[in-house]
């Protein structure tokens, strides 16, 4: 081949043979991210799967003496009340609470985003408040309010209505469980629905009005259908979230003898006076894992469609607001009642109980006892270390994953994409269990430490890959190519161009994951040892030891920490959606 056209200056240069744009630094970085994703998400799941098919049940899957079997499945599905009791209660619990959540969140979101409701910004902030409070704190606060014997609300109602005995409200029932869970999930669904309503192109509704449709017709024939993808995706997500809930079923469902999937799995792992039945628990988990992944696939399908919708309509719209008119007072009453039950009363009862719950005197006794408790400060440190480290770790890994999935072509890319969003569908209780089995089977010396919590929390990769992916799609590939063509190596391009442009979404991802880690209860419960207690677990321990005032003191301190974060978060949320 006649290559050297200019023989006088022809000096073949390519010193090393064919190299891609990545170089070895980039190669190591993306390989690390891919392997980390497999280790954090797939390895525990594989451990769980094999456990379900290994027996006998009280052995770890690869302990000597264990063998392949379907006994676990047969025993659990035919010989226990899983299908007859647990499955129906789980279904009722999940569907009931999702209905409550959706009705409340949709109404709130519509009132805040699309009507002239007064004090919208304040209401928005207070609605968000429970988003940051661990579910276990809310559950505890609601039992203080609605317990049939001494709950504040019940005492007040009895005095008002002149009743005797217990009640009239019994929180320890299926209805109580559904209502509590339903209300607890509102803030997060409210956020998603609000975003969908805010990005809706108002000219779609205006076109309907201009065609002669009355507002009510427009709402049902244009607004709702246009919002459908933006509403269905949060709906599926809410079902997934309800399915994995453990706090409410433990605190409210257990006294009422209601067993749902998460509590059933927990008690299979922590039987009263037997050895943990790993195989049977894995068999139980299998059913719900399959259900969750099926839901996840539907969700993924919907979110792709929703993304397409949003891309078409763009951003920066200022939807017209409906005038509430004479509906103003009922609307305010609805919002007020919700805020009272979901935020204000729980906060007040926690603070009051922390000062007055233990004895008849109002005072700081509970705090003194708590601060002297040698479990308290390690738990504070563990909570922040685990939440911070796992949030940082997966923000980084998630960004690298999103980058390689979008920008590189390699075999297995589609599979890695699936792994990167799979974690949305995996219930936390299953992850906790799966990580436990994995690290009991492969002892690398972190079982029972805070490090296993960091790894287990980090399975929530999808939060960060999703956010980074959305941001990367906005970054024109030519911005990166311009760096390469200017002589920038992979690290230059990533460090000087990609990361600075991604910074806002990396911050959002870190903040979100930190909050999720801060609230986490299920995973640290399953993986707990005396060296890795976090605040939520300590609070549960105090509460179940009937040290109510100290438990309330922990709750109060969590509220104090969360309150300022809310304002940071609110600014983030509002500015990100261009509605500051």
């Amino acid at each position: 081949m006649a290559v050297q056209a200019e023989p006088a200056t022809a000096v073949p240069v390519a010193r090393r043979r064919r190299r891609g744009q990545l170089g070895w630094v980039g190669g190591i970085a993306v390989t690390f991210a891919a392997l980390a994703a497999l280790y954090l998400v797939m390895a525990p799941l594989l451990a769980l799967l094999s456990t379900a098919f290994r027996g006998p049940s009280d052995l770890l899957p690869f302990e000597p003496g264990a063998h392949w079997t379907v006994d676990n499945l047969l025993e659990v599905y035919l010989g226990t009340n899983l299908l007859s009791t647990v499955l129906p209660s789980t279904a009722i619990f999940v569907l009931g609470s999702v209905v409550v959540t959706f009705f409340t969140a949709f109404t709130l979101a519509w009132l805040v985003e699309r009507t002239d409701l007064p004090w919208r910004t304040t209401i928005f902030t207070v609605i968000l408040f429970p988003l940051l409070v661990p579910g276990i704190v809310m559950a505890f606060a609601w039992t203080l309010l609605f317990a049939p014997n001494a709950g504040w609300v019940n005492v007040a109602l009895r005095a008002l209505l002149g009743l005797e005995g217990n009640g009239p409200i019994d929180i320890f029932s299926m209805a109580g469980l559904i209502l509590c869970q339903g209300i607890a999930s509102v803030p997060f669904v409210f956020l998603l629905l609000g975003a969908a309503m805010r990005t809706m192109n108002p000219s779609l509704e205006e076109a309907s009005s201009a065609s002669g449709a009355r507002p009510i017709t427009t709402f049902f024939r244009v607004t709702l259908p246009v919002l459908r993808p933006g509403v269905l995706a949060p709906l599926i997500l809410a079902i997934l979230v309800a399915l994995e809930q453990f706090e409410m079923p433990l605190i409210i469902g257990f006294p009422a003898r209601i067993n749902v999937f998460s509590t059933r799995l927990y008690f299979d792992l922590n039987p009263e006076d037997e050895l943990p039945a790993y195989g049977k628990a894995a068999a139980v988990a299998l059913l719900f894992l399959v259900a969750a992944i099926a839901l996840l696939l539907v969700y993924n399908h919907l979110i792709r469609r929703a993304e397409r919708f949003v891309t078409v309509t763009g951003k920066g719209y200022r939807p017209t607001r409906y005038a509430l008119g004479r509906w103003r007072v009922p609307a305010l009453a609805f919002v007020g009642f919700y805020l009272l039950v979901a935020a204000l009363l729980p906060a007040v009862v926690l603070v009051w109980t922390s000062f007055a719950g233990g004895s008849n005197d109002v005072g700081l006794d509970a705090y003194r006892t708590l601060l002297a408790d040698n479990r308290f400060w390690p738990a504070v440190r563990n909570t922040f270390v685990v939440a911070g480290l796992s949030a940082g770790l997966i923000t980084l890994i998630g960004a690298l994953l999103a980058w390689q999935i979008l920008r590189l072509r390699f075999p297995g890319r589609a599979a890695l994409d699936v792994v990167s969003f799979l974690s949305i569908g995996i219930p936390a209780v299953i992850t906790g269990f799966a990580v436990m089995i994995l690290h009991l089977t492969i002892p690398i010396g972190i079982y029972g430490t805070v490090w296993i919590l960091v790894l287990a929390y980090s399975y929530r990769l999808a939060v960060s890959t999703r956010l980074s992916r959305a941001a990367l799609i906005q970054i024109h590939p030519e911005l990166e190519e311009a760096s390469i063509a200017s002589g920038g190596r992979w690290l230059d391009t990533i460090g000087r161009v990609v990361l600075p442009l991604l910074a806002p979404s990396l911050m959002a991802s870190f903040l979100l994951l930190f909050i999720v880690g801060f609230r986490e209860f299920t995973i640290p419960m399953i993986l707990q040892s005396q060296d890795n207690w976090v605040l939520s677990v300590i609070m549960w321990k105090l509460q179940s030891d009937r040290q109510t005032a100290q438990a309330a003191a922990v709750g109060t301190m969590i509220l104090l920490f969360v309150a300022p974060v809310i304002f940071v978060l609110r600014r983030q949320l509002l500015s990100r959606q261009g509605d500051a």
Partner: protein, 363 residues
């Protein structure tokens, strides 16, 4: 300076694979301005990206300034950051998180061995002066107009004093008036720096105005290359004729041929013309006579030897009018001074300048 040999490239698509490049060969001498011209999807941008090192070709070799940067036969492929190039993108790709100075300084900052800060500053300012943006050094990149972004992109591409400047449709995002102005500025800039340039565009007027050499690409091949006048005046085939300017086609039959001239009788209008012929044609052969709108004089009165048509449509375009004339089943385009006014349905007579006609055997 740039030598490209036997470049091939295929992409996997949903239904098999798409061959984007089917063997591209060309050379640019030092200081030359070479343009790849073609419609979207013809492979021109892929060629440029292979030269830049952003894409790896399946076959072929590329050398820049005597350095072999790609040679698939020997398994060589230097990544883009090791090539001595400057690249301007269609989107300009100005980094929004940096100011103008930082954008232009970037190629020097990532250079190895490292350059000292004073030298970087001096060279960035020099590059900005070259494009007339020295007063904007501290301006945030997001606060620039399209034309300013483009100038910054040029400064960034030239600041390393590369051997080869690659331009990927750099003018296509500008509005018409600015595009024309930038075309002159760009030509002047390249003349002053003397940098060897590979230019990719779909706009034939840019290609004709700026290049030393134009290569027309179609379906992954270079179908014709040469000086702009040559390619425009003597297209080798219909694709080129069609792509460079608008062309009229009339059917005809050769009556006699020889000495590089052929006498052709047109199927419509029954007129004989003697036109230059580059291919050997025998009497009786069916041919297409091709001529451009500006090679026709349009009259509203009968003239000797002119062909009678009817006016189908008059498109007023300011400085001139385009006439669409019907001759039998064929529509012809001609350009007319705007003072001539005709109505659809009027008679018109056209006189074709025979020496400007091109003959192709009818396909």
């Amino acid at each position: 300076m740039l030598t490209v040999r036997g470049l091939t490239k295929s992409y996997a698509t949903a239904d098999g694979s798409f061959q984007a490049l089917k063997g591209i060969d060309f050379e640019i001498p030092a200081g030359g301005f070479y343009t790849l011209l073609g419609e979207s999807g013809c492979g021109k941008s892929t060629t440029l990206r292979c030269v830049a090192g952003l894409e790896e070709p399946d076959g072929g070799s590329i050398s820049i300034g005597g350095e072999v940067v790609t040679d698939t036969a020997r398994g060589l492929h230097a990544p883009a950051f090791e090539r001595d190039i400057g690249l301007v993108f269609q989107s300009y790709a100005i980094w929004p998180h940096m100011d103008v100075f930082a954008n232009v300084a970037y190629p020097l900052k990532v250079a190895r061995p490292r350059l000292g800060a004073p030298e970087i500053k001096a060279r960035v300012l020099e590059a900005l002066r070259l494009v007339g943006m020295e007063d904007f050094a501290g301006r945030q990149a997001t606060k620039l107009s399209g034309g300013q972004q483009q100038r910054v992109a040029f400064a960034r591409a030239l600041v390393r004093r590369p051997k080869l400047l690659l331009l990927d449709e750099p003018l296509s995002n500008l509005d018409a008036k600015l595009r024309e102005q930038m075309r002159f500025e760009l030509q002047e800039l390249i003349r002053r720096t003397g940098v060897t340039t590979l230019y990719v565009t779909h706009d034939q007027s840019e290609a004709l105005a700026m290049s030393d050499t134009v290569a027309v690409m179609s379906a992954g091949r270079i179908v014709q290359s040469g000086a702009p006048r040559e390619v425009y005046g003597q297209p080798d085939n219909r694709t080129v004729a069609h792509f460079l300017g608008s062309a009229n086609f009339l059917r005809g039959r050769v009556i006699e041929a020889g000495d590089g001239l052929a006498t052709v009788v047109l199927a419509e209008g029954a007129v004989e013309i003697r036109v230059p012929s580059r291919v050997a044609l025998s009497a009786g052969a069916a041919v297409d006579v091709i001529f451009r709108p500006e090679d026709v004089t349009t009259h509203l009165d009968p003239a000797g030897g002119a062909i009678e048509c009817s006016v189908e449509r008059v498109v007023f375009q300011g400085g001139m009018s385009e006439y669409q004339l019907r001759l039998g089943s064929t529509l012809l385009r001609t350009v007319v001074h705007p003072s001539v006014s005709a109505q659809p349905g009027d008679r018109a007579w056209i006189a074709i300048r025979p020496e400007r006609c091109i003959l192709f055997a009818a396909g």
